[in-house]
Structures are given as structure tokens and as C-alpha cells.
Amino acid sequence: MIPAKFDYIKASSLGEALTLLQEHGDEAKILSGGHSLIPSMKLRLATPSVLIDIGGISEMNTITEEGDEIVIGANCTHHQIATSDLVREHVNILSQAALCIGDIQVRNRGTLGGSLAHADPASDYPATVLACEATIVAEGKDGKRTIGANDFFQALFLTALQDDEIITAIRFPKVSQGTYQKFFQSASRFAVVGVAAIKKGDGVQIGVTGVSGVPFRATAVENAYDGTSSAAKHAMDGVDDIISDHFADEEYRSHLARVYVKRALEAL
């Protein structure tokens, strides 16, 4: 399969990429690792007339420690994140999630920024981004802004990013204890259910992906948390827009969500 025709431009800096994006508007798509975009283009689910390749922009490819945060450039691949000593030490849950994505080859190409911008409801990162209350750093024609995890994911494949914006980095607060528990879709390795849980003081923060059109914080569980896993029964309280497909219907998926929240609480 060969995608429809497009023009390809390799941006050598963020500034150049932003200018190109403004110039071409919604005709253009940003290409990072390409592991969601290129298959979509082959299947004609996406037909951008311009691809702006940001993959070579090295300023977006670093993992650094800044005070209480680990700052991950949007171009970092899942492999980089899974194997980074800084991430393993300070945001271990993120390295666990990265290692659950796809397979070696996918992890060698796919990027954190690309995955978040694509906002596939079955992708792994959103659960961890929500649980950790990470912030997404985006740049556009009006300059730089940060978007809180809770505000970022808005609908199926829809985020708070504006058309002229590019994710440049994601800032994760350091986490002392966290776990990512996932029920894999057996062929694609996407998350049928993915649950990220971290300890915060005496409480917990829980993000859930795969279950609903939009990943969510399991606030009912967080509020009912008593140090045991019994609050897991509240995992689906107030959740609507539950995904139903031939791998898991609504009832089964809801059941899985409760089971995986329970496992996450037990693993903490």
C-alpha cells in the first residue's frame, strides 16, 4: 500500500517546524516516529498534503532532570524512555508503560509526543500522564504554553493542541512509587485496559486508558481509597462512553477495568 501523494519537508529546528506549520495550516501533519500516521495514510484514513518531519530536531530528543521534574523531549522514543536511567529512577511507572508499547521495532521509532498528540484511546501513555499529573509543553504561533494532563485529552483522537501547535516536551513530577498494569490486546499489543497508579502521600492517583473514548482519572477510587484494594469496585463509577469492540464489550471491559485497578492497588 502506498499513501496518497504529499510533499515532505524535513524541519531542522523547532522554529522552522512552527513556521512551516503556520504556512501550511491544516493541510499539514507533523511526522515524528510515524508509527500511527504512516499506517493511517496507507489506509487513506489520513491524507495530509504536506508532512513536516520533526524527527531530526535534536533539541526535542533529550531527557533531563529539572528540580522535582523529569523533562522528556517530545521526540524521545519509547525505547529511549524505557531504558533511560533518569526515567527508571524517578518516574519508573513511565518506563514500565513505555516497555508495554507494541514491540521492539515500534518502540525504536514511536515517540512520546507523537503518541500523545495522536491520542489513540487504546494507547498506553495517557494513563501514566494522568496519574502523574504530568504537563504537556506545546509551542505555537502565540508562543509556549503548558497544558495540564486533565485538560489535554478531550475526545476520541482529540486533544487540547491547536492546529498551529507542536508538543515539545512532557514534564513529569518525580514519583516515588507507581505501577502500570495492562491487559494487552493479544494481536496489536494495544491496551484493552491500562491502569497507572501512583502513591501520593496517604492517597493514590489513578489514570485509566483503553476503557473510554477519553482516558480518565479514577477519582471515585481515589476518594474511596483506604489503603487496601477494596476501592477498586468504584473504578467505573460515573464513566460513560465505554469502548465496545470485538475484543471486549462494555460489560467485559468494565469488569477488566475494575480487575486491573485492583491489581494496580495491590501492586503499589
Binding site: 496518497a4 515532505y8 510515524g34 499506517p39 495514510m41 496507507k42 489506509l43 521492539i104 515500534v106 525504536n108
Partner: protein, 154 residues
């Protein structure tokens, strides 16, 4: 557009449409047909090559993205008549049946062993998640990679 890629140690310069995948470029433009195309949507791993030393699914990399990089395909694994230890191990342990998935398996095995020269059976199986063998010949593929790991340490 014009691209230059070092493929199996040789610099190749070509004028190519941006929409052509690396897998297509290798097979149709360079006659390197050892790289197989199975699913063509990054599921099956048959098209795995290494790009700057990392295993990638070449169906999901545009040839233009590989501009300036180094690519190794299955054709680049042997040194003259001397097969690569991974290839030798696949022969020794009958790590193939129909052979369609084999080039991808060998290239992925190279990545597994590069990052972990001493993998457990479980680590090898985890490492092969992105490579499908429709003959279901996984047992011997895993054995082959275990054997290759031993040979490459020796």
C-alpha cells in the same frame, strides 16, 4: 526528492517520491528482495531491517526519513561466504519453515542480542512480539537465537 542512504555499507543515492516506504524502496528500487512485506502496516515484522543499528519495520519508515542514515538488510548480514552467527544458528536449529518471516526474525534477533547479549528464553520471546511466524515455528526460532547468543559470546 534526492536521498542518500548507506545500505549494507554502500552509499546509495536515489531520486524518490516521498510516499515510498523504505521497504518498497529496498525491494523495488534496489532489488534487495530479502526484506519481505507481509502486513505492510507495522504488525507482522517481516520487513524488519536495522536503521542506524536499531530494528525497525521498514514498511512504516518512509525512505526519505532514512536519508543520511545507515540501513542493514538481511543481505548485509553475511560477510562474503561467511553467514552471520544468527543466520548460521537458524540453519543449525531449523529456525525456519516456509522462510517468509525469517529475514525479519534475524534482523530483530540482532537488535535483541545487541541490547542483551545474554537473554533468557522469556526475554527472547518478549523481544519477538513484533514478528509473526505463520508456520508457528517459534520454538526453533527461539532456540536459534539462544544458540546464536552463545556463539556470539564465544
Amino acid at each position: 526528492m534526492n536521498i542518500s542512504i548507506t545500505i549494507n555499507g554502500k552509499l546509495v543515492t536515489h531520486d524518490i517520491e516521498p510516499r515510498i516506504s523504505l521497504s518498497h524502496f529496498l525491494r523495488e528500487h534496489l532489488d534487495l528482495t530479502g526484506t519481505h512485506i507481509g502486513c505492510d502496516t507495522s504488525g507482522c515484522g517481516a520487513c524488519t531491517v536495522t536503521l542506524d543499528g536499531q530494528a525497525v519495520k521498514s514498511c512504516t519508515v518512509l525512505a526519505v526519513q532514512a536519508d543520511g542514515s545507515e540501513v542493514t538488510t538481511i543481505e548485509g548480514m553475511a560477510q562474503g561466504d561467511q553467514m552471520h552467527p544468527i543466520q548460521e544458528a537458524f540453519r543449525e536449529h531449523h529456525g525456519l519453515q516456509c522462510g517468509f518471516c525469517t529475514p525479519g526474525m534475524v534482523m530483530t534477533a540482532a537488535d535483541i542480542l545487541k541490547n542483551n547479549p545474554n537473554p533468557t528464553e522469556e526475554e527472547i520471546r518478549h523481544g519477538l512480539e513484533g514478528n509473526f511466524c505463520r508456520c508457528t515455528g517459534y520454538h526453533n526460532i527461539v532456540k536459534s537465537i539462544q544458540h546464536a547468543a552463545e556463539q556470539m559470546k564465544a
